[in-house]
Structures are given as C-alpha cells and as structure tokens.
Symmetry: C2
Subunit: 180 residues, 2 copies
C-alpha cells in the first residue's frame, strides 16, 4: 500500500467525481491522447489513413492541407508511433514513402468513429451525411458506443470515476494541465 492509499483509504472504491478537486489531471489520459491527436489536421490525416490513403501527396490533397503542413503532421504521427513510413518504388519512378497505420494508430478508430457519428447527427447538412459506415458482413450502420466489459451499454450517469494506479492527489492548482 503506497502513501496515497494510506492517506485516503477509501479512494479505490469511492467515486472521485464526487470530490473532483481531490485528484490532479496532470497525468490525465484524455490530455495525453490530445497531445498526440489534439489538432484538427492530425485527426483528418488519421481519417484518411482509415480510408486507405497511403501516399504523401494523397494525404495532403484529400485533407486539403499544404504539403508543408502534411509533412510536419505526418512526421509527428510517425514519431508518435501512429504510422509507419516505408520506402517503395514504382518502375521508372524515384523512391517514395508510404504511410500505414500501426496498431497504436488503428486503436484510435473508436475515437474517430465517435466524432464522425456525432458529426452525422449534430452537424451534417439537412440532406444528411456524405457517407455512412456499414458492417461489411451484415450491412448495418456502424457507430461507437460506450459499454462496460460485461457488455452493458452505459450512459454518463451510469459511470463512476474510481482511482487508478497512477492517481495523483491534487496538491496545488499548478498540478492541473498547464499547457492547454
């Protein structure tokens, strides 16, 4: 039992959202994820990667960013381990590179599908969304949903926030995410 548990013995079962100021968000996983995919262009490049885009010029054109922006973002995404960059060469052409999603990158699919579905419902033109994701096997539309490991669908009200192993108790206000 570490210091944290000794000081707050009930923390592992208590719902921390009842006492929000008890814990720090310095190591918040949402903030950590946004350090990697917290820009609009990173998310849209990710969208293109899921659509099957691999070539640099296609990424830039399909997202609608300059080649300079695409180069910077794709390099960061490679450095962050979301994409691999592999050389290839077509006959008579110079060597180019293609970008492919890693497992780390592929696991952002639920986040992207959730944003797409929300955009379909709340931000599409009146005529409806441009594309629909469907399950190849059964043809049903696809979306992201929140469930527990036992398979129950859950709403925000059904969810308790409990202490994880990395919980940091809030010491000062400087503990909070500073570089937003």
């Amino acid at each position: 039992m570490g210091t944290t548990s000794a000081r707050r013995p009930a923390a592992r079962v208590a719902d921390l959202s009842e006492d929000r100021d008890a814990f720090s968000t310095a190591n918040c996983s949402v903030a950590r994820a946004l350090e990697v995919v917290g820009t609009r262009s990173a998310m849209l490049l990710l969208r293109e990667a899921f659509y099957g885009t691999r070539r640099f010029d296609q990424f830039a054109r399909r997202v609608g960013v300059t080649e300079a922006v695409a180069a910077t973002r794709l390099r960061a995404m490679v450095d962050d381990g979301l994409l691999t960059r592999t050389p290839y060469r077509e006959p008579g052409q110079r060597t180019r590179h293609e970008y492919r999603l890693t497992r780390k990158g592929r696991e952002l699919y639920p986040a992207l599908v959730a944003l797409l579905h929300w955009g379909d419902v709340w931000a599409a033109d009146e005529i409806g969304p441009p594309v629909v994701l469907t399950h190849r096997t059964c043809g049903e539309p696809v979306h992201a949903e929140v469930r527990c490991a036992a398979g129950h669908p859950v709403t925000p009200r059904d969810v308790a926030v409990i202490a994880g192993p990395g919980l940091r108790l809030a010491q000062t206000t400087e503990d909070a995410c500073a570089d937003v």
Copy 2:
C-alpha cells in the same frame, strides 16, 4: 433518384473507400465535429463537464487554463449548443452562472471515453492511468467500442464506406476541407 445516383448508379452500395478520390470531404462529419470540439481546451472543458463541473472558476482551475481562455471556449461551447448557461445566486453572493451539458454535448461522451481509453493504453505513465471509469451497476471498466446496429463488434477492416444522402462527388481539389 437525384443527379448523383444517375451519374453513379452503383454508388449507394459500392464501398467508396475503394475509390477515395470520387467523393469530396467538404461536408465530412469528422471535420464538422472538429469545428466544434477540435481544440484541446474544448475537449478538456468537456471532460470537466462530464466529471460534474458546473462553475466557471472550477472549469478554469481544473483544466488549467486562464479565465480568459475558459471564458472564450465556454462561450463558444454555449453558442454551439453543447452547454447551457444558467444564472444562480447563493445567499449573500452576486449572481453567477453555471454550465450544464445539453443532449448535444452529452452525446460527445463516446468520443471522450474513446480518447481516454486510448490514452490509458498508449500514453499513461508506467504505473498506470490516474482514474478508471467503471459501470456503477456491475463495477466493470467502461470503454468505447465500435459496433454495428445489429450489435456486432467491428474492426476497421470490417467497415465499408458507402454513399450517404449528402454525398458530394469530388469536382476539384478545392472541394477538400480547406481551412484545416
């Protein structure tokens, strides 16, 4: 049958990801969603709203942004319909405002849970994530997953991208999202 269908009769069943350049992303729902929650601070303010934060000073402190940044973002989130802003007054105090999630805001929960879960797996400190979301009823951990309407879990490979009612065929490269 509109012009689009007449020109591309198979579009409603074809997998568009096989011919990515056939459709425009000018009205892409991911891009539309990111116009609303495409900044790091908007997402973190949303996190706080789900944690139950309602008061302006708490939002600013818990996210770790200046009051000026919090004011700008919260105002935008109210304007975008994610939050309502309601006056309240405690005895002997001046009138303050509290912010509460609307249905439109609450429906971003899957996106936020997906980012949190990804951060837990791929970006947490070695000791583990600070908090764990659990289902109040059964105690199991909660995450976001991609499923079809028939309930099948799906991976990116299982998903076809088909034309929706708002599909715009790509005319020029200027069709792509310009303001990234």
